[in-house]
């Protein structure tokens, strides 16, 4: 039997309640897990694809009830007065769990005209919109979770945002002090944008695994593609960085995102990558 459960905000001892039984919320989504993309903050997802995290129950951010045999009878029914405290709902469909995060915008508090036999006005105050697609699906059989946006599900799986690594102030500061960077025009830690912080977190890793030879070659490579974007001082071997955009191109360069197409010889930038 399929059920719908709700997670309630707050620090009450019980936070998961049964909402509905013998009902499911979403159409069954058939996904070939082989074609899902292992989560990487580096990748921009295509519209029709999903990220996956395999071996999910062994992860720290996995929910307890996914780790054990799930039994609806272990959960109480939700009281009406807790309705507006729902933080997310999940629907057990077959063996799988379909999650949807609930935000206040999903509650309808509006007057509506309902067309039945005759039209009538309806003042609904306790209605919840169910999205067409769930935010995440836990596939029990393969112990894998699939999702579209890590930011959305980080409210459901506490701690999962560890995967969406953003550099700390200290890391950003250390990076901006790298010998090949020359900061100009008041640019600094406080103005580095969120996406760039994410890229810095990745770049720090890349740099640490790069040999000195490669690093030297890297500057030629970046300069080749970014001549008009970033000013490179060949005598001091430093890039002048004064805007977020310049920093972005430098970070893309370190990640080797620039390439030339083999036949048409067009210079390009890959704003999303996937290892093949």
């Amino acid at each position: 039997m399929d059920y719908v459960f709700a997670k309630i905000k707050g620090k009450a001892k019980k936070s998961i309640f049964k909402l509905l039984s013998d009902n499911s919320l979403f159409d069954i989504i058939k996904v070939d897990l082989k074609h899902c993309i292992p989560y990487s903050p580096d990748h921009n997802l295509d519209e029709d694809s999903w990220y996956k995290i395999e071996n999910f129950t062994s992860k720290d951010f996995c929910l307890d009830y996914l780790k054990e045999q799930f039994d609806s009878k272990d959960f109480d029914e939700l009281n009406k007065d807790q309705f507006n405290k729902i933080s997310y709902i999940f629907s057990t469909q077959g063996d799988d769990f379909y999650f949807q995060k609930i935000t206040s915008s999903l509650f309808i508090h509006k007057k509506m005209i309902v067309f039945g036999e005759v039209a009538e006005i309806e003042k609904s105050n306790n209605r919840l919109i169910i999205n067409e697609l769930p935010d995440a699906i836990f596939i029990t059989k393969s112990n894998t979770i699939i999702f579209k946006s890590l930011a959305t599900i980080s409210a459901i799986f506490k701690g999962i945002d560890i995967l969406y690594k953003e550099a700390t102030n200290q890391e950003v500061d250390d990076f901006l002090k790298s010998p090949f960077i020359n900061i100009k025009g008041g640019y600094g830690v406080d103005v580095v944008s969120k996406p760039n912080r994410k890229r810095i977190a990745l770049v720090v890793n890349t740099l640490s695994t790069m040999s000195d030879e490669d690093k030297a070659d890297m500057h030629n490579y970046i300069n080749e593609y970014c001549e008009d974007k970033i000013k490179y001082d060949e005598s001091s071997l430093q890039y002048e960085i004064s805007t977020d955009d310049e920093l972005k191109y430098l970070l893309y360069g370190i990640e080797q995102r620039f390439y030339t197409t083999p036949f048409s010889k067009e210079k390009r930038l890959a704003n999303s990558v996937i290892a093949i």
Binding site: Y3, S21, E68, Q69, D71, K73
Partner: protein, 182 residues
């Protein structure tokens, strides 16, 4: 809906107290309707049977209404222990009877019944009433894999945990489930 259903079950479970009070004080139908000669001439015994029929019918109604409740499934292996509980509620029921027998007047009845009704409603455990036995139901305490103990009302004779496989059990409250089909 749920609340109404629970009120009905509480009523079924407690109504016997009122009937015992009527029997104790020989309040027959003829006593309530002295003008009706047919009622007055009726043997006392018939009045009592008619009284008794009321909670029986209401219990039957509540069984018929139970599909409107939330549903749960008992899968094989969901429960780890089962215990027959038909006799466990009889002592508390006998308690009701003795209380009813010693009630002296309407005022006390109203008060005692009121208190009993509230506690039965709130206790969430005493909903089950012996009248279910007349409909062929048995009572079980079952324990889930995780350790939750729930009360199961069923027409089946279960002896060991693996036998309990129910496609649709209806949730009377969070601790009480009823299986209708045999």
């Amino acid at each position: 809906m749920n609340r109404l259903f629970r009120l009905l079950l509480t009523l079924n479970a407690t109504l016997l107290l009122v009937i015992v009070f009527f029997v104790q004080n020989t309040y027959t139908l003829g006593h309530f309707f002295p003008g009706n000669s047919w009622f007055v001439n009726l043997p006392h015994f018939v009045s009592y049977v008619l009284y008794f029929a009321i909670p029986v019918l209401l219990t039957g109604t509540s069984i018929l209404l139970s599909p409107l409740l939330g549903k749960d499934e008992f899968k094989k292996g969901d429960i780890i222990s089962i215990e027959h509980a038909n006799n466990s509620f009889l002592p508390s029921y006998l308690g009701y009877f003795f209380v009813a027998l010693s009630i002296a007047n309407w005022e006390s009845l109203l008060f005692v019944y009121g208190v009993l009704f509230i506690f039965t409603y709130k206790s969430q455990a005493l909903y089950f009433n012996p009248l279910f036995l007349l409909f062929g139901f048995e009572f079980y305490n079952v324990k889930t894999l995780k350790g939750t103990t729930v009360f199961l009302i069923s027409r089946n004779n279960y002896r060991y945990p693996d036998e309990v496989e129910i496609e649709k059990a209806f949730r009377i409250n969070n601790y009480t489930f009823i299986e209708r089909s045999k």
